[in-house]
């Protein structure tokens, strides 16, 4: 089987965790990848500055959707400060697959959306731009 589309990725894509919306979310943010039109929205519910619940919504490829599913799993129970420290490598390790420059943008879109939401800014710079 194709290593990029191994079971784990496909499973998260076809049966995403934390998919949906939180109507009374404390943090909501949406962004898209203009190259492919992928769109991700993330809603976060906080309790004492700790993520109590998180949901994501949107359309996209297997990589971006699996990344959102896996990343949101990791966010639950984390503080905002901890989330601010998450980086590109954290997401790539979660996915555990080799990605080319175009697909890295798909993989990192959910993190970009989360960080922009948590920092409360309009657009979070692309992770790879910081290198």
């Amino acid at each position: 089987m194709d290593d990029l589309y191994r079971e784990l990725i496909l499973d998260h894509y076809q049966h995403p965790h934390n998919h949906g919306e939180i109507p009374d979310a404390d943090i909501s943010y949406e962004d898209s990848n203009p190259l492919c039109g992928d769109k991700i929205r993330i809603d976060i519910k906080l309790k004492n500055n700790i993520v109590e619940d998180v949901k994501f919504n949107g359309t996209g490829c297997a990589i971006s959707q699996a990344s959102a599913s896996m990343l949101t799993d990791e966010l639950i129970g984390k503080s905002l400060d901890e989330i601010k420290k998450l980086d590109k490598q954290f997401v790539l390790d979660l996915l555990g697959i080799p990605l080319g420059p175009t697909r890295i943008k798909c993989a990192l879109l959910p993190l970009k959306v989360v960080k922009a939401g948590v920092y409360g800014i309009q657009t979070w710079p692309d992770e790879e731009d910081k290198e």
């Binding site: 496909l10 492919c36 039109g37 996209g60 490829c61 297997a62 959707q65």
Partner: protein, 409 residues
């Protein structure tokens, strides 16, 4: 099938001789850019090795050689699209710049508040955004001819939307997503009947079928060299009477007759619209591409692509779950086939194709409004050219089945 010898053609394209991911390269992204034959690559190489010089000014041998070839290529292009004069053929950076030239130069001078600009829902962003910018600046109104579920323009709207209020009609000759070949003659004739000017985006037409600007009577027609076996340079054809009256698009060297500190006068056509040093080698290379296509014959090119599209449409329809965008009748479309598979995202499809050495494009193909119109986020697109063969279509179809297998829920 027709009089094109594809086996011989393939020999002319060095890039097609390679393996990708251990498989022979299958290049099916020709709507984005085409590959280049040896004859074009050689001309580029020769320019830099033998007569690299700036054009139009130097009196030394190299400059004269470069100028002669640059202007010689223009005449080849003129003949290729049957323009009345070489003065009507303007080199631009790409088709996008050619369309912007019309929007900025002709549009700014002629579009007024309340005027209507009519386009279609099939347009590439290049033939849409410049008109949005113009309409916003002038407070003009944009209207769009719709399409049916097969991507065919609603012809009855040609008469109802193009009216006395219409000053400009901007329309694609062949869609880069749905593949639709539009009823361009009917649209141009209607535009002229109401006194409007018609701008044709022929980026997906000139490389793939015979285009005769005098027969069409198009006012402006834009296309890209790199989509027709040539290097990265664009062409704007405009009717001389219109171009003569237009102000320059970009100012600078070469586009002037006289420059004084306070004012300047303009060079004659076509150079009035070619400010600064142009893409000299690329223009000469496009001349070589035009020679290559002319030798093949554009009727033969069209017949070859029509046959390939017919073969592909037939085969792809047999793969369960594959939805094809655009007309199912190969006579109504070019060699562009965009499709979707409900359970797999185009990016993933394109990636799996890449593993098989097949280049296809996943995304919105610079036609977001068209995807919106059909309620789909993105599609995967395969597009053919002179060097593609039915065996490559077979590989495309086999890989489609593979995608379905990987993504079966």
């Amino acid at each position: 099938m027709n009089s094109i010898n594809v086996a011989a053609i393939r020999e002319d394209f060095p890039i097609l001789q390679q393996m990708v991911n251990g498989k022979p390269l299958v290049y099916l992204d020709n709507a984005a850019t085409s590959q280049k034959p040896e004859a074009v690559i050689r001309v580029l190489d020769e320019y830099y090795r033998k007569y690299n010089a700036n054009i139009h000014r130097g009196v030394y041998h190299l400059a004269e050689e470069a100028t002669t070839r640059y202007e010689g290529a223009r005449k080849k292009i003129q003949k290729f699209i049957n323009a009345k004069s070489f003065r009507e053929v303007i080199y631009t950076r790409n088709a996008t710049e050619a369309l912007n030239l019309v929007a900025y130069s002709w549009g700014r001078a002629n579009i007024r508040e309340g005027d209507e600009i009519v386009a279609t829902v099939l347009e590439h962003h290049a033939n849409l955004v410049p008109w949005q910018v113009l309409a916003k600046e002038k407070n003009a109104k944009l209207k769009f001819i719709g399409a049916d579920d097969q991507g065919l323009l609603r012809v009855e709207e040609i008469e109802t939307l193009i009216t006395e209020k219409t000053k400009l009609v901007a329309v694609t000759m062949a869609s880069n997503v749905a593949g639709t070949i539009t009823p361009i003659q009917r649209i141009i004739d209607r535009a002229h009947a109401v006194g409007a000017v018609c701008v044709v985006d022929a980026a997906q037409a000139v490389p793939h079928m015979p285009v005769d600007v005098q027969a069409l009577d198009s006012d402006f027609l834009a296309f890209s060299g790199h989509k027709m076996l040539g290097p990265f340079v664009g062409i704007l054809h405009g009717k001389r009477a219109l171009l003569e009256k237009m102000e320059p698009f970009l100012g600078g060297g070469d586009m002037i007759r006289e420059v004084h500190l306070e004012y300047s006068t303009w060079n004659e056509l076509p150079w009035k619209f070619e400010a600064g040093t142009p893409a000299i080698a690329e223009a000469i290379g496009l001349g070589a591409a035009v020679d290559y296509l002319t030798a093949l014959g554009m009727d033969n090119v069209r017949a070859h692509e029509r046959d390939l599209a017919a073969y592909a449409l037939g085969k792809m329809r047999d793969v369960a779950g594959v939805q094809i965008l655009g007309p199912l009748n190969p006579d109504q479309r070019g060699g562009v086939i965009a499709f979707s598979i409900p359970e797999a995202h185009p990016h993933d499809i394109a990636q799996i194709f890449d593993r098989e050495g097949i280049c296809v494009r996943g995304g919105h193909h610079c036609a977001m409004p068209l995807h919106e119109y059909y309620g789909i986020a993105a599609t995967t697109r395969a597009s053919f050219y002179v060097y593609n063969v039915p065996e490559e279509v077979d590989k495309l179809v086999e890989t489609l089945a593979k995608v379905r297998k990987i993504f079966k829920s």
